[in-house]
């Protein structure tokens, strides 16, 4: 089931940022230097990731590729086993693309303190982000259930410190809330992980996913195990009603942390639902579908309504994610190949889309010194380019056709409709609410009369001294900010018109997963349509 690789690509991918973190944190030198090194390491990781991706064969019949396997704790059946299918591969690549963008956006997140060791705080901030990148690779690449669990929990450590040390005024509270919610989910999962091992064949590699797929289990046991895993993933995803940690965590953490948290880490929840819930417990997944789909649809509508009601930009963005995760979960539990492919693509697109929303909003926040939407108004007049990219990010958030998120959102809906028509129709109403939360925010922030006391830098330069008095110049996009924005907007367009770049890799993995499910549920119709054979 796993195609082994002669080069340990995935281990290398995980090690580069880890080494980078150590270098950044401990090698003496200026903070500026450390930042550049951090970006350098993340870019090297990206390049290696792309090279590794070229080794991936999408025609392979094996579920996992680029595989590595070493015995770790044979007494307990734990292996150090890595490997990726198309789903994991695109998620890892998304994380590798986002990390350097976040590092670049994080340039001024942490002020350098005075004194000889004043740069240390900056260094540890950048180092922690690199550590996080290591765990992000690991968690998607683990093909051993226990190893997955280790990465799943280990991710909490850098995130806890990133939020708790480098966040806003209520960062301690937010970090703790995040940790408690995650640990609550994680501990229940740990019980389920161990119980699953006991159900399996055991042995020195008994935690490998391939050994645990297709187990014959007593339905009650299977359902309990499913719930154990699902709960952890639902907290992580986050689904209503386990979502309340997210707005606090997102608004109190630095924008780069929020991006990686919501854009990548939360995907572990929905990724886990495909990889573990559906693949390991197909019957229980089917059993739970009505409840899960109901929660998903509630998340779509509830998250969107909550987003409309927010006055804090970062909280607004995080509630839009609650809504978007509802779509992803809906597509997964639709049990169609269209829904699965759509959900996976959605995970990738949402990563870029949310990154754009968080990071572009942060550019405004930094200029204004406030996250409160009512503190803005008329900014299109003074920062037209920033307004432009902010609008594009918003349009991606509301799923405008032509941009990437439309393809995935629509595919999820098309793929969910055959098996969950009512849910799909209600979720479709989410596109109306999405227009509301994005455009209302844009209106309040960007439109209206020019804000008092502020002028664009260009105009400021043109004014003579007495006219300038009392006016603060606001810079439009800096070069660094343009570098942050360009790859994200390029991703919207490329994946909007050529989504097959990702889908061609995703489709075989989806078929693999669904074939496991189909063994347990023979009457499954992965295509979903009634028009069997009539399609061209």
């Amino acid at each position: 089931m796993t195609a082994m690789s002669t080069v340990p690509w995935l281990t290398i991918l995980g090690l580069i940022p880890l080494v980078g973190a150590l270098v950044v944190a401990f090698v003496p030198g200026s903070a500026e230097n450390a930042k550049r090194m951090a970006i350098g390491f993340s870019l090297v990781t990206l390049v290696v990731g792309i090279i590794a991706a070229t080794q991936f064969d999408r025609a392979s019949s094996k579920q996992f590729q680029l595989g590595e396997q070493h015995s770790w704790i044979p007494q307990f059946g734990v292996s150090y086993a890595l490997g990726v299918d198309g789903i994991a591969l695109v998620l890892i690549l998304m994380a590798l693309v986002l990390t350097p963008i976040c590092l670049l956006a994080a340039w001024h997140d942490v002020p350098e303190e005075a004194g000889p060791r004043g740069g240390q705080r900056v260094k540890s901030y950048f180092a922690l982000i690199l550590v996080l990148e290591t765990f992000m690779v690991g968690v998607f690449a683990a093909t051993d259930v226990f190893l997955f669990y280790v990465f799943f929990e280990a991710m909490l450590i850098p995130v806890y410190f990133l939020i708790g040390r480098f966040g806003g005024p209520r960062r301690q509270y937010a970090a703790m809330k995040f940790l408690l919610f995650s640990l609550a989910g994680g501990l229940i999962m740990l019980v389920a992980v161990i119980a699953l091992y006991l159900q399996g064949p055991g042995g020195s590699d008994g935690f490998l996913i391939e050994r645990l797929t297709g187990l014959q289990m007593d339905p009650t046991t299977e359902r309990l195990l499913f719930v154990g895993f699902f709960f952890a993933f639902a907290v992580k995803a986050p689904m209503v009603p386990f979502h309340t940690w997210l707005p606090d965590a997102a608004t109190e953490s630095s924008p780069a942390t929020a991006t990686l948290l919501v854009g990548v880490l939360d995907k572990v929840g929905t990724f886990g639902m495909i990889r573990f819930c559906l693949q390991l417990f197909p019957e229980a997944s089917e059993w739970a579908t009505p409840v899960v789909v109901a929660l998903a649809v509630i998340s779509v509508i509830y998250g969107a309504l909550l987003a409309i009601g927010q006055t804090d930009m970062m909280r607004l963005v995080s509630y839009t994610s609650v809504s978007h995760f509802g779509f992803i979960v809906l597509g997964i539990f639709a049990f169609t190949n269209v829904g699965h492919a759509g959900s996976t693509l959605y995970m990738v697109n949402h990563g870029f889309s949310t990154a754009a929303l968080f990071l572009f909003a942060a550019m405004l926040v930094r200029r204004r010194g406030s996250k409160r939407i009512p503190d803005f108004g008329g900014w299109q007049r003074i920062t037209p380019a920033l307004a432009g990219i902010f609008l594009i990010a918003g349009l991606s958030g509301l799923g405008l056709p032509g941009l990437a998120s439309f393809v995935s959102e629509f595919t999820v809906l098309v793929g969910s409709f055959p098996t969950q028509p009512v849910a799909a129709v209600i979720a479709t109403a989410g596109i109306i609410l999405a227009a509301l939360y994005i455009l209302l925010m844009y209106k309040k922030v960007m439109t209206g009369p020019k804000p008092e006391g502020l002028v664009s830098e260009r105009e400021h330069d043109r004014l003579d001294e007495p006219a300038r008095r009392g006016l603060t110049a606001v810079r439009d996009l800096t070069t660094r900010e343009k570098l942050v924005a360009a790859p994200l907007i390029a991703a919207f367009l490329v994946l909007g018109f050529l989504p097959n770049l990702a889908l061609n890799v995703i489709n075989p993995a989806v078929d693999q997963t669904l074939s496991h499910v189909q063994k347990a549920i023979p009457n499954l119709n992965p295509a979903g349509t009634v028009a069997e054979g009539s399609s061209k």
Binding site: K177, A184, D511, S535
Partner: protein
């Protein structure tokens, strides 16, 4: 990626082009001639313009507007060449499909991006590129002094590209891209002067109302995929006839209609169009009169195979059209804002088109024909209104106009031709298109021809009244100008496009209608008019009745708005007038039914989420965390130490396992 690059770089021979037959009329395979294979340039050229102007920034300020105009005209040239190539082929070989690239392949959901160049899309291509390019030229004059005119022209180009994609797409999914693309351009242009908060609100209102329609379009596409396993026109429309599961067809039809109602400002999603007049007037002419708002009619006619398999949905189309044509006409009678009066008229005229589109094969060609003539005369009148505003310090209140015929002779004359055309006075354009719709509305059995026919007939009378009112209040009667205005004729950049559109308003109907050219042209797409379909009243009588009503409408308007003095302040008016002034209370209804409950719901959810859900979930987390203390205690350190202990415990266990191994 490779496919696209290959496509863009390829010679025509490597592009896969094929003849397609839709609906009931199958065409025979025919090799496309060279120029047709380049039809994608229609979309690409204006899109390039938008990209250059938006990305180029201030560097393109100087040449940007001219570049955008040139690119728009280039698209027209391409369109005209493709049209000529089409004319050179026999009627059954004119529809050509062009594959561009594989777009989406997600599991069983496979959609390739391609264009469908047929008689129907060609009518639109010519209308959009010709009127669109004229309006680009007009805007060079109209927007001359606007500091942001580069952005304006970028959005105009973006609109033209999206609109062409909408009508050329070969699948419902690609159509959707154009469909929301024009919605975006409309949003950007309505809010072009969004430093005025009311204009920003108008832009939002338009987008959200359109999204409600798009909800319908989305569901229609989902139903299509479920039922047919595909969403391209050829598969869906080809199977719609023989495979008709009527329930499905009805559902798809109604959902498509919902989409059409949003885009075309049809009842009950009409409320955004009046506010959309916040956009600069060339935008109102191009987007909110001539092209975008008629996209709903295109959608219904394009989907004729579905509607013909769903009589119920078809009936609803007719009802929506009839309601909207009367709604718009009544509102138009009470508006004093010249642009809002024209907007109400647009709504009403699209109601006519929608009604015709719902009548089936007797109406399709006339729906499109009226769309075409309306595109000319309404765009012309909007440009005329812009010219008036230009001369009157951007005022829009017709109660402060009057007697402008002397000061602005060209505007008066061109506007006058548009006025005659919309009235349906023979031999001007509207006579050939609108009277045919009235006649078609009287065809049928039972109560329908009487209800719909009378609605269309009465609508014609009201149209004559409100359009004459508008024309007389603006150009005739006493001068009621404010002291600061000095009306003058606009420059040639503005008047020449008005003159060209006026020529179209005068003669387009005669050229295409009297000869039957438009019906013959569209027949392969829309099907032939059924033999033996006669109106319940003789056609000559309908013509006479229409003309009598029109004359009555003109006479009444003449009495009240030319002969009598028009008060500068609007009189209180009857209850109906008051209701019409407030758009028959559409906003009040929407506010009471949707907005206020929505705001309450949102507010209470925000409150409940922070108190209830968070509290409960926090309590649960605290419980799992081994403490029964409430969430607020998190801050006092106890919970933190618990959590850290737990984390440390997990790490310790893992470490122990590591060591043991």
């Amino acid at each position: 990626m490779g496919t696209l690059v290959q496509t863009l770089a390829s010679s025509p021979s490597t592009l896969s082009t094929y003849a397609v037959g839709l609906a009931t009329h199958e065409g025979e395979a025919h090799a496309a001639s060279g120029v047709t294979a380049y039809a994608w340039l229609l979309v690409a050229l204006p899109l390039l313009g938008a990209a250059v102007l938006l990305l180029g920034g201030r560097r393109t300020d100087k040449f940007g507007p001219v570049l955008a105009t040139v690119l728009s005209w280039s698209a027209f040239v391409v369109g005209a060449l493709v049209f000529l190539a089409m004319l050179g082929r026999g009627a059954e070989d004119r529809a050509v499909g062009i594959d561009l690239f594989d777009w989406v392949a997600a599991g069983a959901f496979k959609v390739s991006a391609g264009l469908l160049v047929d008689q129907l899309s060609m009518v639109f291509v010519l209308l959009i590129t010709f009127v669109g390019s004229l309006i680009h030229v007009y805007s060079l004059g109209y927007m001359e002094h606007d500091p942001d005119r580069r952005r304006f022209f970028a959005y105009l180009n973006l609109f033209v590209a999206a609109m062409l994609l909408l009508v050329l797409a070969n699948s419902y999914l690609l159509l959707y891209v154009g469909w929301e693309g024009v919605g975006l351009a409309s949003y950007l242009l309505i809010g072009f002067w969004n430093y005025n908060p009311a204009y920003a609100t108008a832009a939002n209102k338009a987008f959200v109302a359109n999204r409600v329609g798009d909800f319908g379009l989305s569901i229609a596409i989902m139903l299509m995929f479920f039922h047919f396993g595909a969403v391209d026109f050829q598969t869906v429309l080809g199977a719609a006839g023989d495979n008709a599961n009527q329930g499905f067809m009805t559902a798809i039809g109604l959902m498509l209609l919902l989409g059409a109602c949003g885009k075309s400002a049809q009842f009950p999603l009409q409320s955004w169009l009046g506010d959309a007049m916040a956009g600069p007037t060339p935008v109102s002419a191009l987007i909110h009169a001539a092209t975008m708002v008629t996209a709903g009619v295109y959608l219904v006619v394009r989907s004729s195979a579905i509607f013909e398999a769903a009589p119920t949905a078809q009936l609803v189309v007719v009802i929506v059209g009839a309601i909207t044509l009367l709604f718009g006409a009544i509102v138009g009678c009470a508006k004093d804002d010249i642009k809002k009066a024209l907007a109400a008229s647009t709504m009403s005229q699209i109601g006519y088109m929608m009604l015709a589109a719902g009548l089936g094969p007797v109406g399709y060609a006339f729906a499109i024909f009226h769309l075409l003539t309306h595109g000319f005369f309404k765009a012309g009148m909007f440009l005329g209104a812009g010219s008036v505003m230009h001369g009157m310090n951007d005022q829009v209140d017709m109660r402060r106009f009057g007697g402008l015929s002397g000061a602005m002779k060209i505007t008066w004359a061109t506007f006058g031709l548009g006025w005659l055309a919309i009235l349906g006075v023979p031999p001007f354009s509207g006579y050939w298109s609108k009277d045919k719709i009235i006649e078609a509305a009287f065809i049928g059995e039972g109560w329908r021809p009487w209800v719909f026919g009378l609605a269309a007939l009465i609508g014609a009378g009201i149209t004559a009244f409100y359009m004459s009112r508008l024309f007389f209040m603006t150009f005739h009667g006493k001068k009621r100008w404010t002291d600061d205005v000095h009306p003058h004729e606009s420059g040639l950049l503005m008047t020449v496009p008005m003159m060209i559109l006026a020529v179209g308003s005068a003669f387009l109907g005669l050229v295409l209608g009297a000869t039957g050219g438009i019906t013959t042209w569209l027949e392969p797409v829309t099907g032939a008019e059924p033999e033996g379909a006669h109106p319940v009243l003789p056609p000559w009588l309908l013509v006479v009745l229409t003309l009598v009503l029109v004359a009555a409408g003109i006479a009444l308007a003449w009495l009240r708005y030319w002969r009598d003095d028009v008060p500068a302040k609007a009189p209180a008016g009857s209850l109906l007038t008051q209701a019409a002034r407030k758009d028959l209370y559409q906003d009040q209804v929407n506010e009471a039914l949707l907005m206020r409950p929505g705001i309450h719901l949102t507010r209470s959810l925000v409150f409940a989420d922070s108190k209830g859900v968070d509290g409960a979930a926090g309590g649960l987390a605290a419980l799992v965390g081994g403490t029964s203390s409430r969430l607020r205690k998190l801050q006092n350190g106890f919970a933190r130490s618990y959590a850290l202990t737990m984390l440390a415990g997990v790490v310790a266990i893992l470490g122990a396992l590591w060591v043991m191994s």
